[in-house]
Symmetry: C2
Subunit: 590 residues, 2 copies
């Protein structure tokens, strides 16, 4: 039906007869001629109809925005004054000879040809129109390309693409499962997978050696801005590879991706321990584009007669840290109040600060409501440790360690963005040496998942769970966790030790993971793997503001599809077949 | 952890030091030395430990089947008498120097190294062991390769890989949906897609131009041998291409696949109309490997005074057809009785036959219980039409057309197989020119789906729905439908005409497909597409007997996973959150 895509026509096509198909992006009358901007997947070209081709001119006169046309014509150079350097096809135009209207269009509910600001609800309701906008369409095109590059890399590295089930058993990720009632097994339910974790481990037990899958995963959670009920992982697992080898092969994949798509060389990715990341950046996914760091000052604050500081400083679970912001002394009282509110989101009860106006004057040259609570020599020791200069501001966090880290970690990123301190476009790193467990309400919880291998023996692990490190690794880019993984436990005794520490009794373990424990008995190889969030990678690489912009048919924050009106009401006959019924409204209200 | 895969070692590696990882496939003592067959994904190699390496020899002595080992050693030639030509690595062996036991194994519940016949239940329960068997593992490896070839073909032809939702609204395929209760929208349900049909059409409306996806699809049906609750489609859709172009590009894909994987040139695929396929083979997916055809004889039977034949012959909805089987006169009475039972499955009330013993003798040379009911000249006219020869048998079908087609169509295939008449390995073809509708219980039903475009105008369609042909096309291979598709309706008036014929009122249409009807209003391009069943393609190409053999973790015929024990019981708290409850057992029994 066509000889060329609209967007591909260039000077070298001049004098060629072409057949094009596409949508009317814009239609103008000018000097007795009709100009149609014809749009297809590859771009836009200008088509001109003059009254010489009477029948077709008259048709061209009738077309409106978003009509679908087939146009035959001849490519010709534009006159010098009408060349449009902002258009890829701007040096040429097509002199239309024949025009067929393949379909008409009503006036769309919102403009597509400009960056008109439309409410997201309308955009999602008419997603099939929203996707015609170049900025969204480009993102989906790039997503397809990213997927293809990733697959080719994994294919050529011997990974097998293996599908794992969608209708499966509840997985142990800990989020809420989507459930699917079984018709043939009354009263029982499938769960949609939160990840293919157990299946990929079983594929290693099965000797598949290297597995990957671009896998749909599901979590029924209350959605934050960057979450969707269904999301996509690049999921991989290998046998007989140690942590360094797995990190190297996946690092190679990400490097290749950035090279091919963005022509960016990420270089060798630095590695940082979890402990160092928390200490210096208050986060296990530090944004290294921002040249700000936390500095511990609790040793200095232990003696100070100021409860806000000396309390946390003397608490083994507390932390007192300072964040120096060069040039920050210019922040107004009002701006500081805003940042105080901001750290409040993370549980900080206040935000102490010191401005360095003129260091040469000693404490006199500093400005802060808290100076009066601290001896001058402590203050000056701190200034020395922080290597301050005139014009700096120092913010303080003093609280439970987790509160200080979260609050100052977030403040660091916010200040970096607000004060335009971002130094480079891409700052990837590996975070390693995670703790195996964290203590929550007096019990131990896995920091990753219960199949992550520790660096020590089962005996050492049980002797001191809090000290144990895991063979886990996260890949962080610009403060976003792109993905993570670990070496898995491949021996029964270790897996049982972990279950004991987590308080999962033999019965529960057998009930939940019996098949995995079975599998460990029959020659499970050493193995490990990783999963990347594809949506997030695409989001970062396309500069999208929302994950919804890189998904063809996303759901809203209440997990609904405005276009198809899903979820929907179903017939009671269907529920009967599934052996379920709706709860009565009264019960819910009661 | 290793330098080579076991199965890759050859003569050129002789004298190299290698490190291997894998499973003990077999362990033998022989003449004071220990032979270990070490297996990994790529194959098996023989490793020899002799008592010189005392510590490692002793370890080798302890290993059992399915232990996981790391072995260091030197590749050496086997002596001439011990070369094993049946093994890819059979010219060499590895003289083991170091052995590390990476994991032990209990005795597996079934033998893995032989083709021991194990019940499928046990195999599915221990799928992680079953997958270690080479014949199953090979199929999954080939599946991965097939997927990769298909993707590369589609990528290089400008198709974009776009994911469509799994949590969606009921699709109109007509089978039973799997439902997912919504937590945030009480009383409402998502459906898992039976296919991405509507989404891919909307992607065309969105201007994506060429879409593909290797898509999971779901149908909650009572399972036949070759069905699974979740299955995989190669799903594609294009804009601005006519039927011939779409068939050409997908035919190219299948041809490329067979060329690359099996080194088979399928050549140009023949095309056959639905009408011809039904007439000659009684099936719209004829197995052309079998050189048997149906021949209509109803004109001859209209006058015959034999009710079994002249009834259907005079019924416009009846058919009388003959199936000539060369060499079939040797079939015994007992065998014929079996075939009579066989056609009974398809509703045939009997199976008349004539054996041609000695044609030169005329009717005297024929043998059949039905000859007495037919005039000799009619019989001989029929013999002439069928061009019979001595030794042939002719079977007859006389009934409603659909019964005759199904019964003789199936009999044709069965006889072809039983009598070893299969002429070639691969017989692909396109079936085209399907009817738009079939009449069921006095109403019209779409033969494909309600979005399939007819070859005529809306007016002609409504004037005579029964005569209308569609722009649908199925690709058939060896009697199996690999996939099919159609040009879709892209204009509102046509879509509404089809809905009217199907008895779908405006309200129901709006309720079910409102968003599609909306989309047709805003410049929907001419488009069409196709979906192939990936599982079936892999099954045919690997010669698998069951679809379960080409799926890593399949479900049983009652839609259960014996390994993970899914579906499972869930906590009542979860159901409460989902606003549903189980039906009481009494209610079900009541």
């Amino acid at each position: 039906m066509r000889s060329h895509y609209c967007g591909t026509l260039r000077k070298e096509h001049i004098d060629q007869e072409v057949t094009l198909c596409g949508w009317v992006d814009r239609r103008r009358d000018h000097g007795g001629v009709i100009f149609l901007d014809l749009r297809d997947r590859d771009g836009i070209v200008q088509v001109v109809f003059d009254p010489d081709t009477e029948e077709h001119f008259q048709r061209a006169d009738k077309v409106r925005s978003e009509f679908v046309l087939q146009v035959k014509g001849r490519v010709r150079a534009r006159t010098e004054s009408t060349v449009n350097p902002n258009m890829a096809t701007g040096e040429i135009e097509v002199l239309g000879k024949e025009l067929e209207i393949l379909n008409s269009s009503e006036t769309p509910p919102f403009q597509l040809d400009t960056h008109t600001d439309v409410g997201e609800d309308v955009r999602l309701r008419y997603r099939f129109l929203d996707l015609r906008r170049n900025d969204i369409a480009d993102k989906l095109r790039l997503r397809s390309r990213i997927t293809s590059i990733l697959r080719n890399y994994l294919d050529s590295n011997g990974f097998l693409d293996i599908e794992t089930p969608i209708l499966t058993r509840a997985t142990p990720e800990g989020a809420r499962d989507y459930l699917v009632p079984s018709r043939t097994h009354a009263g029982k339910f499938f769960a949609l997978p939160q990840s293919p974790q157990l299946f990929k481990q079983l594929l290693m037990v099965a000797g598949m050696d290297r597995y990957y899958q671009i896998a749909k995963c599901f979590r029924d959670e209350d959605l934050r801005a960057d979450r969707q009920p269904e999301f996509t992982q690049i999921d991989l697992e290998t046998s007989f590879m140690d942590q360094d080898e797995i990190m190297a092969i996946t690092e190679g994949m990400i490097r290749e991706l950035f090279q091919q798509v963005l022509n960016v060389d990420l270089g060798d990715l630095p590695r940082m321990s979890y402990a160092e990341a928390m200490l210096r950046f208050g986060s296990d996914r530090p944004d290294l584009r921002i040249p700000l760091e936390l500095t511990d000052v609790e040793d200095l604050m232990q003696q100070v007669d100021f409860k806000v500081f000396n309390g946390p400083a003397n608490d083994p679970k507390g932390r007192v840290a300072a964040l120096k912001v060069p040039g920050g002394a210019k922040l107004s009282r009002k701006e500081i109040d805003e940042y105080t509110k901001f750290v409040g989101i993370y549980g900080a009860k206040g935000l102490a600060w010191i401005k360095v106006n003129e260091l040469a004057k000693g404490v006199e040259g500093l400005q802060s409501p808290i100076l009066k609570f601290m001896p001058d020599d402590i203050v000056m020791q701190m200034m020395e440790r922080l290597a301050v200069a005139d014009g700096d501001i120092i913010f303080f966090g003093a609280d439970k360690t987790s509160v200080v880290n979260e609050a100052l970690g977030a403040l660091r990123v916010k200040l970096g963005e607000d004060l335009n301190m971002i130094e480079r476009e891409w700052a990837p790193l590996w975070v390693v040496d995670f703790p195996m467990f964290e203590e929550i309400d007096g019990g131990w919880t896995s920091l990753h998942h219960p199949f992550t291998a520790p660096t020590c023996s089962p005996e050492e692990l049980e002797a001191n769970p809090g000290a144990a490190l895991s063979k886990a690794y996260d890949l962080v880019l610009n403060g976003t966790e792109l993905g993570g993984g670990s070496i898995r436990i491949h021996k029964s005794d270790m897996q049982q030790a972990v279950f004991r520490i987590l308080g999962i009794g033999p019965e529960e373990a057998d009930e939940k993971f019996g098949f995995l424990l079975d599998a460990l008995k029959y020659g499970c190889p050493p193995h490990g793997g990783l999963a990347f969030g594809l949506d997030r990678i695409v989001m970062l690489m396309t500069g999208a503001k929302s994950i919804r912009d890189v998904i063809a048919f996303p759901k809203t924050q209440t997990a609904a599809c405005l276009m198809t009106d899903a979820p929907g009401v179903v017939e009671s006959k269907q529920l009967t077949e599934l052996n379920i019924r709706l709860r009565k409204t009264e019960e819910k209200q009661g």
